[in-house]
Structures are given as structure tokens and as C-alpha cells.
Amino acid sequence: MIKVLFFAQLREKLNCSQLEVPFTKSPGDSFTVAELKTQLTQRGEAWQSVFTDKQVLSAVNQLMSDNETTLSDGDEVAFFPPVTGG
């Protein structure tokens, strides 16, 4: 399982604060943040727009990550946008 967390505007846009997705990869292959995003975009229109937005950042196990970061079973992935108010 991969635990996926959403923060700030993403919670409102997706109407979801966290979910779990099965850890799926063929032996020898890698499962990256980019692939997780692609998988999430299939959940609907709002998901499509959130996960194609380059401003949305990600962290794997509380460490900043990018699209190429590879995931392991049990990882926690957090997605968050910049927050600008004050």
C-alpha cells in the first residue's frame, strides 16, 4: 500500500484528505511518483487537473521528492500546493 496525503487547496479540490492505493509494480520495474500521479488522474476530472498542475509539489516519507522519485511498499506520499496568503 501507498498512503497518499493531500494538503491545503487540494483537500477542497479533490474532496479528500488522504487515501491508500495498492502498491503495484512488476518485478524489475520501478514505481515512481510520476506513475502514482498518472494513476490518480484516472479518478476524475478534478484529479486530472490537480495532478497535471506543475505547481503541485510532493514529498515521500516527509522528504521533498520529484516525479522521478521511486516508491516502495508502505511509503507515505504527500501532495501540496504553494499557499500564498498572509
Binding site: Q9, Q55, L57, A59, M64, A78, F80, V83, G85, G86
Partner: protein, 390 residues
């Protein structure tokens, strides 16, 4: 203050009054007289004294930071009082920095507080940052944050970023040599709503600003600061916190390989983060003043596009057609009149006016929504006549 008494003791860092005032800090084992001495010797620049700046300044002044400088170019408005707890109704219309200085000096007269009633810009920013030990970002826009970041990277100064939106907040302490703000957010965000258009729960800047003040005080006193090189994500609705460790980017335009400061300058010119200023949109706007002159004539038809709750809460007349229903209502709207849409802050009405234009209507949107209209009315001293106008 008992000055004659304190003068009896010389060669002390603190006066007798200060020593008594900071008792609870001095008695903290992790803090002690050493920590309090470091606070007294510290010089802190607070950029912006709005929602975040108010709690930050209150706590820094109370904690005994030796010298505080606060810079803000705005005046106190009625909509500020919902969360900007440093101000009172008597401050309305006064400049924020000066009003803040006035209140803070009453909280702690033994510290030095300087107010600058100007926006923080490229022109005044460099000298200010050079002149302080720590910068606290209490602004409401990314352009100013990029400017603070780039100047702090250049001058090797630490700074503490924080921001809020609706129920969410972020906070990070950037130290010289560590990852910088542009390593975290390389691109200037666009289309991200700010508190003026999206709202913010009043206590949120209090919560996030207190985190920011706490990190500042611990940093200056020499204690550990968990937000160093980390981004704290705060969710006030679910009371959830996550701390993300940041990483320096070798290709960062501010702290990475050789980068000319001049190339970064265009970013500071973007005053607003919202993409609301294109010419076609401007042509659709009607100012509160024009609105007042047009609304009663038979050439115009006013439509309130807010939700039922908002309509029942307060309105200034006209038809009520909530934004989601606007396309169905098109059949019933008069085609021979100019439709003027209004909402709370001017975003939904712009959307509605655009939809109406697409359907062949002449349509306008009340600029800045009800909020700006009400501020306009208050400024004109027309509160009492509002009911008559309806």
C-alpha cells in the same frame, strides 16, 4: 517604571524592571538568562503586519526582542479586524505599521520599535535586510517573498516564511547555506487564490503566526528549530501537521550556481499572484462609484450571483441568481439592458458576466464585489443612507 531604582545597579545587561518582566523566560531551564540576553541583543525585521504580522509582533515585542522594525504600506480596514488582532476600531484608516508601533510600545516600552509606512520593495529592502539579524515574512504575496528570499540569500541572513489560505498554513525557516525558498517553489505560482478572494478563518493566521513567532524566539535564543530547512504543513480544520524536509537544488536560480541578481528582478514586479488583470477582464469591470450611478437607471439590471446563504445574510438588491444557475436563467434576463453582476469579492461575478457575454448579453461585474462596494460606501460616510438606496 522605577527608573531611580534600576539606576542603582550598573553593569547589568537588564534593568531591574526587565529582569522582573522576563522572569518566566529566565526561569525556563532551556532558555535562562543567556537566552533572554540573546533576545535583547537581537534585531528583527517583520515584513507585513496583517494577519500573520499581528501575532508575530505581539509575541516578539512581549518576549523582549531588543529592536523590532515593522514595514507595511497598507492602512487598517474594517475587513482586517476579523483576524488582525493588534488593531482596534480606532485604528481604521491609519497606516498599519504606525498603528502597530503604537500598540506594541504600550506592551513593551523597554524595546526599540521602528515603523515604516511603506511597501517592502527592491529599493528599500536591501538596506533593511542588511541591518537586521532575522527577517520574518508576514506578507501576502509571492513576489515579495521572492524578493526577501533573494536578498537574504545574498546577505546570508536567515528568514522565516509563513502563509495561510482558508484553513491551511505553511511555515519554513530558511538558513544561510541551506535550501532556499526558490529551491522549494521554483516557479511563481499563478491562479492561487489569496485571502482577499478565498477567505481565511480568523484564528488561522493566529495559529500559524504563533508558530512563526515561536520559531523566531527559539532561533534567536539558541534553541532547536524544527522548521529549519523544513516546511511545516498545517491543516487547521483537521488539526493535522506534517513536516517536510527540504533539499537544496543545484540548479536553483537564487542559491545555486552563479546567478545574476538582475535576472531575478522581473519576479518582484508581479504585485499580485492572481491572473486577474488582463485587458478583456478590466473592460468587464464596473467600479463601486459607477455602479451607484447606474444601478437605479432603467438601462441596467442588477444580479446577485452569490449563494442563498450569502443572499440571506446581506444584500444590496437586484435579482438573485446563484452562479451555478446562471446559464439556465439566461432566458429570463432582459436582453435590452446591461446586466451588472455582483458577488462577495468580484470573482464569481466576473465569471457570470463572462458567461452572459458569451450568450450575447452586455454584462459587467462589480469590481471587488460587495466588499469593495461596502468599503466605498463607508468611506463616503453613507452608511445611514444604505437602506434608503435599496
Amino acid at each position: 517604571m522605577p527608573t531611580s531604582f534600576s539606576e542603582a545597579f550598573t553593569n547589568s545587561v537588564f534593568s531591574s524592571e526587565e529582569w522582573l518582566r522576563y522572569t518566566r523566560h529566565i526561569q525556563l531551564p532551556q532558555f535562562g538568562a543567556g537566552g533572554q540576553t540573546r533576545l535583547k541583543q537581537s534585531e528583527v525585521l517583520v515584513v507585513g503586519c496583517g494577519g500573520l504580522g499581528c501575532p508575530v509582533l505581539l509575541y516578539l515585542a512581549a518576549a523582549g526582542i531588543g529592536r523590532l522594525t515593522v514595514i507595511d504600506g497598507d492602512d487598517v480596514e474594517l475587513t482586517n479586524l476579523q483576524r488582525q488582532v493588534l488593531y482596534t476600531e480606532r485604528d481604521l484608516g491609519l497606516s498599519k505599521a504606525s498603528a502597530a508601533q503604537h500598540h506594541l510600545s504600550q506592551i513593551n516600552s523597554s524595546i526599540e520599535i521602528q515603523a515604516i509606512d511603506q511597501a517592502f520593495t527592491l529599493d528599500n529592502g536591501e538596506a533593511l535586510i542588511k541591518d537586521h539579524d532575522l527577517v520574518i515574512d508576514c506578507t501576502d504575496n509571492f513576489a515579495t517573498r521572492y524578493l526577501i528570499n533573494d536578498l537574504c540569500v545574498q546577505r546570508a541572513k536567515p528568514w522565516i516564511f509563513a502563509s495561510v489560505y482558508q484553513f491551511s498554513g505553511q511555515c519554513a525557516l530558511f538558513e544561510p547555506g541551506g535550501p532556499c525558498f526558490r529551491c522549494l517553489f521554483p516557479r511563481m505560482p499563478t491562479d492561487i487564490p489569496d485571502c482577499n478572494t478565498a477567505g481565511v478563518i480568523g484564528v488561522l493566521p493566529g495559529l500559524v503566526g504563533s508558530v512563526q513567532a515561536g520559531e523566531a524566539i527559539k532561533y534567536l535564543a539558541g534553541l532547536a528549530t524544527p522548521t529549519s530547512n523544513s516546511l511545516l504543513l498545517i491543516e487547521a480544520l483537521d488539526l493535522e501537521f506534517r513536516r517536510i524536509q527540504l533539499q537544496r537544488k543545484s540548479d536553483c536560480v537564487a542559491c545555486g550556481k552563479q546567478q545574476s541578481f538582475d535576472q531575478l528582478k522581473p519576479d518582484y514586479l508581479r504585485i499580485s499572484d492572481t491572473a486577474l488583470s488582463s485587458k478583456t477582464r478590466e473592460a468587464m469591470l464596473i467600479s463601486p462609484d459607477q455602479f451607484n450611478r447606474s444601478r437605479d437607471g432603467d438601462q441596467h439590471h442588477v444580479v446577485d450571483v452569490r449563494s442563498v446563504d450569502e443572499r440571506q445574510g446581506f444584500h444590496i438588491g437586484g435579482d438573485h441568481i446563484a452562479l451555478p444557475e446562471i446559464s439556465e436563467a439566461i432566458l429570463h434576463l432582459p436582453r435590452d439592458k446591461t446586466i451588472i453582476c455582483y458577488c462577495q469579492s468580484g470573482l464569481r461575478s466576473l465569471d457570470a458576466a463572462q458567461q452572459l457575454r458569451d450568450a450575447g448579453f452586455t454584462a459587467l461585474s462589480l469590481e471587488g464585489g460587495l466588499v469593495q462596494w461596502l468599503q466605498h460606501q463607508f468611506k463616503k460616510g453613507l452608511q445611514g443612507q444604505q437602506q434608503d438606496a435599496l
